[in-house]
């Protein structure tokens, strides 16, 4: 890990007790923090050089019933990258908005709302962004079944014989 990043991590440790650090490579560090600490960690990082929010995305851990919100911050001075991630409850799916730190976050949050259904206070513009006339569950949730949706919404071609099975036979990976 780079020298500058390591002492930032040291100050972060003083700031946040429960802090897990995973070093991905020489210039990239992942930090997991509890959700109430996120805002001041982000503003702290933004303070010393990590001004560029390259992406704000989410991961749906349906088993743990958690949404993991991931911020990737990038610094133009030394090229270092911080991946800040927190876990929020899946049912409530509510989180605070970072629009005041980075205006661009408005669109990321709109996208997360559309694809995961996560609400962000402070960002009132929750109109659909990419999907047109979307009527079912937010698509990137794990409990949404795309195949069944595709079958229902976009009718498939009815094949008289099962050509896929025949293709497998021809290729010989079935019974010899």
């Amino acid at each position: 890990m780079m020298s500058s990043m390591s002492e930032i991590v040291k100050n972060l440790k003083t700031l946040v007790k429960k802090l897990e650090i995973v070093e991905i490579d020489e210039r990239e560090v992942k930090i997991e923090i509890p959700c109430e600490k996120t805002l001041n960690v982000l503003s702290f990082l933004k303070g010393n050089g990590y001004s560029h929010l390259s992406i704000l995305t989410a991961v749906d851990w349906i088993e743990e019933n958690k949404f993991e919100i991931v911020y990737v911050l990038f610094s133009w001075e030394n090229g270092g990258k911080f991946v800040v991630s927190t876990k929020i409850d899946r049912k409530k799916a509510k989180f605070v908005s970072v629009m005041h730190l980075w205006p661009i976050a408005r669109f990321y949050e709109r996208e997360l709302h559309e694809f995961f259904g996560i609400q962000f206070e402070g960002n009132d513009d929750m109109r659909p962004l990419f999907l047109e006339n979307w009527d079912s569950l937010p698509p990137l949730r794990k409990d949404f079944d795309p195949l069944e949706y595709s079958k229902e919404k976009f009718p498939d071609r009815e094949y008289i014989k099962d050509v896929i099975y025949e293709a497998k036979v021809i290729r010989g990976d079935l019974n010899g």
Binding site: E132, F154, P155, D156, R157, Y159
Partner: protein, 180 residues
């Protein structure tokens, strides 16, 4: 569609139409890259009198080269309706046939001729230019025999196609913040 009721002018027109087909290709998915080689020196589409056209108003063939998401299907339908009358559609690649590798995606359509009449499909997960030229010759034969009248079907059962489009897309021309 027996071709006996075509009068003499229709027959001559079909002969001419088959010899000079102008193509508007809707380059989506990975099929678009198959077109340049079929136009340049090795496969040379122009010797059949075919060439790319910039606007749907002058094009005879609408050539769809890959998967179509709900959003792009709206644009394809809008462009298809802008083409002058005897028009033909060629679906290129398995994504237009049965959804291809995106058969289970929530966004892409699985069967093109459910929405617009397709005269000819070329199977293959991106078929090579040889298959493309063979398809063109096949289409020319169909035009000469007068079998390639997908556009007549579209006109005759127009509302069937429209219902399918509404069923899958909700509404064809959508009002949202980008089209006030």
């Amino acid at each position: 569609m027996a071709n006996h009721e075509r009068n003499i002018w229709e027959k001559i027109a079909d002969q001419l139409r088959s010899k000079s087909l102008w193509m508007l290709h809707y380059c989506t998915g990975c099929g678009a890259i198959e077109l340049p080689p079929s136009m340049t020196s090795r496969f040379d589409m122009e010797r059949f009198g075919m060439g790319p056209m910039a606007t749907p108003r002058q094009a005879d063939i609408l050539f769809i080269t890959g998967y179509l998401s709900a959003k792009t299907l709206r644009r394809v339908i809008y462009t298809y309706e802008q083409m002058p009358e005897p028009k033909y559609v060629i679906g290129f690649g398995s994504c237009t046939l049965n959804g291809g590798i995106y058969y289970d995606s929530y966004a892409t359509i699985n069967r093109l001729d459910y929405y617009i009449p397709v005269d000819l499909y070329i199977a293959g997960c991106m078929p090579r230019p040889e298959a493309l030229l063979e398809a063109f010759n096949e289409l020319m034969k169909m035009i000469r025999k007068g079998e390639a009248n997908g556009w007549k079907q579209y006109k005759e059962n127009y509302d069937w196609y429209k219902n399918n489009q509404i069923r899958s897309l909700g509404e064809v021309l959508v009002h949202d913040e980008f089209h006030e």
